[in-house]
Symmetry: C2
Subunit: 171 residues, 2 copies
């Protein structure tokens, strides 16, 4: 399978359109805190991977585990794209039965996104809005995610701080 | 990272709600043909992985490569969920800037899905509807994907036939 897991190939150069997000490429590990008015606060460990194949998108995958017992918690997966003038597009699927389409802007080594579409399956909880902010300083990535869900207004949900995985170089 | 790539853990049992889709779990490789009234037909190789972590969703990832020169073509990533009575939910993110939320029904070792929501970013092409049919017989997975896009009505877009990757057992 060309380019598949079993056949390493020469890494493709980053697509030029992705320059505003190059600082995000890599594997990131760390911890986060979740909260919302309707739930008990919780702590999690997290791994985020942002990768590319030379085409004009970054592949994004995230997983979290409970700090308490290592059981899997959330995951999400999708793609980042860049339009012109620092405009950024994000599409994400969530195992909770949601899709999220967000638009925003990159500035330096940070990006701020606001959902334009959030849709849920019949068994999914009501989520109406998601805002994300990510910023990298050196080898440290910090993010904040705010959410409007289950009838509550937009408010803090997740805060995380990750570091570039050992052995990785900045792109 | 518990459960992460670096730390293999004992595989969790499949969540009971996923019984209607157990036949889909695995790694699948094969070939497909793409067509649409607005493009030249094209052939691709493909890898599909459907996996789980014991929670009530299946993680889904797909990649395709050109048969001609092995260059990456499409990819998509998301999650399958089961509701009651064979009802199935699918959420997918596409690197083309689309999110797709589809509802359908599992029957035996097949599933038929129709999009309930398709949304695209400002730089994405117009896609308004996606229908998917997947069926497994033995170690062979066949699928068809129809699409309504760029002003055309719902019609054939992708047809693929994959086999369970070598060394994999049926779940």
């Amino acid at each position: 399978m060309p380019g598949g897991d079993a056949t390493p190939v020469e890494p493709a150069p980053l697509h030029p359109s992705l320059a505003p997000l190059v600082w995000m490429v890599g594997t990131w590990v760390g911890e986060g805190l979740g909260s919302y008015p309707t739930i008990e606060p919780f702590a999690y460990t997290e791994q985020v991977t942002v990768s590319h194949v030379g085409k004009p998108f970054l592949a994004y995958a995230q997983r979290t585990w409970s700090v308490d017992d290592g059981r899997p918690l959330h995951a999400e997966t999708g793609y980042w794209r860049c339009a012109s003038d620092g405009a950024v597009e994000l599409v994400v699927a969530h195992p909770t039965g949601h899709v999220e389409l967000a638009l925003g802007t990159a500035s330096g080594t940070s990006v701020a996104m606001a959902s334009a579409t959030v849709a849920g399956t019949p068994t999914a909880k009501e989520v109406t809005e998601v805002h994300r902010r990510l910023a990298v300083e050196g080898d440290r990535l910090r993010y904040e995610l705010d959410m409007a869900a289950v009838g509550r207004p937009l408010g803090p949900h997740l805060r995380g701080e990750l570091v570039r995985a050992a052995g990785e170089r900045r792109p």
